[in-house]
Symmetry: D3
Amino acid sequence: MPWIRVDLSEGRSVEQKQKTAQAITDALVEFCNCSPESVSIIFNDVSSDDWAFGGTLLSQRAKKG
Amino acid sequence: MPWIRVDLSEGRSVEQKQKTAQAITDALVEFCNCSPESVSIIFNDVSSDDWAFGGTLLSQRAKKG
Amino acid sequence: MPWIRVDLSEGRSVEQKQKTAQAITDALVEFCNCSPESVSIIFNDVSSDDWAFGGTLLSQRAKKG
Amino acid sequence: MPWIRVDLSEGRSVEQKQKTAQAITDALVEFCNCSPESVSIIFNDVSSDDWAFGGTLLSQRAKKG
Amino acid sequence: MPWIRVDLSEGRSVEQKQKTAQAITDALVEFCNCSPESVSIIFNDVSSDDWAFGGTLLSQRAKKG
Amino acid sequence: MPWIRVDLSEGRSVEQKQKTAQAITDALVEFCNCSPESVSIIFNDVSSDDWAFGGTLLSQRAKKG
């Protein structure tokens, strides 16, 4: 039943997402009594132009170095 | 006033989304006393590389199938 | 498979939500080729102290009115 | 940096959430090269009156059962 | 038109939220050419039992501190 | 600590997002006692084919207009 949304800066491979999805699912099964089939996970890739910390977009932070 | 977010696996046409948006809006108007103009809906297409069920990404499940 | 999140100002009854959930599910089945069991919907009640339009919280707007 | 939102039917204890948070964080560190401190997770408890599957709220499904 | 969701640890007053909502709305109007009435904002109070950083819930971090 | 998600119709420049991110961060610092580094913001561009108001997608509304 649980929905898990993972907002992540872009660049992870399908293999990385697959391993992460499996591990998150295992955690929900082991610690929250969920059945594996009930766990659904969405990954959302976020561009460095769309994510800000401390008032600065990641893409601008890189420029500032 | 209501916000409705629809995360949907990618591939639906604009026409399908238009009909769905109209039907969801009608439901909020009829059952929740919302005015039609107050109902806003966002569709979010999710790639099969970004959605996992039972610990497996949809794109990987297709390969196993 | 679709996830639908409905942010709604608080005060709707369980019966209103039930009818809305059924109608939204029917829309996804009819227009997006989803199976009924795959459609999951979360309602999120939002207090008038937590929702702003035009820069004013709903609870403050009521006072001004 | 990643944000993880976990919508879960209500009833899990703080201890269950703590173990789940640790395991999800470990997964992001191991498979996505995130630093532990960068991983933030929000749990959102969802009432059985606010979650529908197959067009029926969980609370109504229990009654039918 | 923009939707802004603010997940915030609980404890802010209505007055704090009102000022924040006004300032966010002003920012969208000034920098993104939105009309004030089109800007809607939802605040979501998050309990310290429901928010984890670095694998530890805020409520548990306080105990360790 | 706060997470802010901004769903915005597509077309804003990086410069517009940067200024908006700075202003939102300043608001959270001034009115909610957050440290600047704790404020994270995600912008999500929404296509006019994916956003409906009053039951009509923005892209269809333009055609009707």
